[in-house]
């Protein structure tokens, strides 16, 4: 069991699913990710349903109709009734936006994108 765990863990650490798709974060997106973490954005927001519950899932906010770059910038600068206005520079907002663009490219988080199978498993509708 321990050997299986070691092999399994090693496979997870060294797997390269995004590398295969050429979707690794670039330097700007990586800086955006660090800004995201330093402001603890995950306490309210989610990626793929993982994170906080006070705000919406932002995995695909970049490509959502009527949202995208301008919307992200306005939300960060002005906040909402619930979300505080973050005092970020334009450069920082651009980096966070680039990070969100890269996250958007990794896949679709919307659960409507999945269908259930007879075995209780799920499949992506695009497959």
């Amino acid at each position: 069991m321990v050997c299986s765990f070691v092999v399994y863990s090693f496979h997870i650490y060294t797997g390269n699913n995004l590398l295969k798709k050429n979707l690794l974060l670039g330097d700007v997106a990586l800086e955006g990710k660090m800004i995201w973490q330093q402001n603890n954005c995950q306490s309210c927001h989610q990626f793929y349903g993982l994170g906080g519950y006070l705000g919406p899932d932002l995995t695909n906010v970049y490509s959502t109709k009527d949202k995208g770059t301008g919307y992200i910038g306005i939300m960060i600068k002005n906040g909402t009734k619930t979300m505080p206005a973050f005092k970020m520079t334009e450069a920082e907002i651009e980096k966070v936006t680039e990070f969100l663009r890269c996250m958007d490219e990794t896949g679709k988080a919307d659960p409507r994108n999945f269908k259930a199978t007879v075995s209780g498993d799920i499949k992506c509708k695009d497959e």
Partner: protein, 465 residues
């Protein structure tokens, strides 16, 4: 049955690290419910404290307090068991070093949250440079555990569970910081996969510590040593370990990672709680005639946790089926499950451990009726909170799958009545948990300062029995 095998060198320093851990853990629990209650206000009054102590600060304050409560209380319980075997000055020093390092870490971490300095990762939301304190303290815990128990023959199942919990905690803790390496940090999906692999296993590792303590308490209460050495107990232990290693994937069914992660987790997840339940019920059956519940406040806490095990088992099984998980994932059903397990199971078991520790301190029983009342209120409030969270979760799940969705804000506004119920239940929990902790701490302090200490915990308990 005589288990008065407290082997202390008469010249050695009196051992008190276990009490320090348990008392500090109770304070962390009070902090956790205070921060949790403040955070829940955001669901009904979004601009409350927004520019002073925002939700991005309150959530880590709450979560970190909970994590420290569980880990410190579990450590205190394990240190308590050292009294049954041997304690020398080296072990005493290692336990104290563990405590001091963690205390310093807590001060630094909580200060960083108040200052708005974050690492921004789930569970461990402080900057990664502080992680060294946690790991160092835990390493001392591992060393002292091995020094005490390595030479002990015929380990009970709880000895293996504690060792597993201690070792696996260190592994998952290091794993949690793999993101600092660029080859993982740049791959956002791999990073999320490893983060939830380690978070899932982290919970599994503290569960090993807590359930090990439940076995230990059961043995001490019933005087029956067979249960913790039975084949079924060891089968349960291996099943728990199997789940700790492989069932974490149910957190990330919708993540675009390799599909084998989902399939393995789905298969493994179905199994974990079943044998544990069986053990609990077997214990209750054998214990029912011999035990004297009126004298055993810890029995009441363990008994209550049984019911929450059953409810959370059912919920966990449903949530681990991918076809259902796509409805519940990212909703408050997950929060209900997290609350149910951390409060209903882990906290109740650890409060039982703390209460037994109180009894062992000075054989005080007058506070038991008060503790029982708080326990009843705690159970009612927890049930109400879970129900409100489940309703919100199911409604959000339906909203998520609706072909025509309204805005997120509209949806959240529609849930307001349920959030008000959740908030009120949270206030009830705050009162009940604080009341319980105050009674335990007050009695402990009174006993300790008045030197009414006839024996050491379980040793004296068993002598009475």
């Amino acid at each position: 049955m005589a288990i008065s095998s407290v082997k202390m060198n008469s010249k050695s320093t009196p051992f008190f690290a276990d009490r320090l851990f348990l008392a500090t853990a109770l304070l962390m629990l009070v902090g956790a419910v205070v921060y949790g209650s403040l955070a829940s206000v955001y669901y009904i009054a979004p601009d409350f404290l927004k520019n002073n102590l925002g939700f991005p600060q309150l959530r880590p304050l709450h979560v970190t307090s909970v994590v420290f409560w569980i880990l410190m209380a579990a450590s205190g319980g394990v240190y308590r068991s050292f009294r049954d075997v041997k304690i020398n000055n080296l072990i005493h020093s290692l336990a104290l070093a563990h405590y001091v390092i963690w205390f310093v870490a807590m001060v630094i971490i909580f200060t960083s949250y108040y200052r708005g300095v974050f690492g921004g990762r789930e569970y461990w939301e402080f900057p990664p440079q502080y992680a060294g304190f946690i790991a160092a303290g835990w390493f001392f815990f591992l060393i002292s555990y091995l020094l005490v128990y390595a030479s002990k023959p015929q380990w009970s199942v709880y000895h293996w569970m504690w060792l597993t919990g201690i070792v696996c905690f260190l592994i998952t803790f290091f794993e949690n910081y793999l993101w600092i390496f660029p080859f993982i940090n740049r791959d956002a999906v791999k990073d999320l996969t490893i983060q939830w692999k380690s978070n899932g296993s982290l919970v599994g590792s503290w569960n090993q510590l807590v359930y090990g303590l439940a076995f230990y308490l059961m043995e001490k209460i019933s005087g029956d040593r067979r249960t913790a050495r039975s084949g079924i107990s060891f089968a349960m232990y291996f099943l728990g370990l199997f789940n700790l290693m492989f069932n974490w994937g149910h957190h990330i069914y919708t993540l675009p990672t390799d599909s084998y992660v989902r399939i393995i987790s789905y298969a493994v997840s179905m199994t974990e709680w079943i044998i544990f339940l069986r053990i609990i019920f077997l214990w209750k059956r054998t214990n029912a005639s011999a035990d004297k519940p009126a004298k055993r406040i810890s029995f009441d806490f363990l008994n209550s946790s049984d019911h929450w095990v059953l409810i959370n088992l059912f919920l966990a099984l449903l949530m681990s089926i991918p076809a259902i998980n796509i409805y519940t994932h990212g909703t408050h059903v997950t929060v209900a499950h997290a609350m149910g397990t951390t409060i209903g199971i882990n906290t109740l078991i650890l409060l039982g451990v703390s209460a037994e520790f109180l009894k062992g301190t000075c054989n005080e029983t007058s506070s038991y009726p008060v503790l029982r009342r708080w326990l009843t209120i705690l159970n009612i409030c927890l049930g109400t909170m879970l129900l409100s969270l489940l309703v919100v979760g199911v409604l959000k799940g339906i909203w998520q799958m609706n072909p025509v969705q309204g805005s997120f804000q509209q949806m959240m506004l529609g849930f307001r009545p349920y959030f008000i119920v959740m908030f009120c239940a949270g206030i009830g929990l705050l009162v009940a948990v604080t009341g319980t902790c105050v009674v335990i701490l007050r009695t402990f302090i009174l006993c300790y300062t008045r030197k009414k200490i006839p024996g050491y915990g379980f040793g004296s308990l068993m002598k009475e029995g």
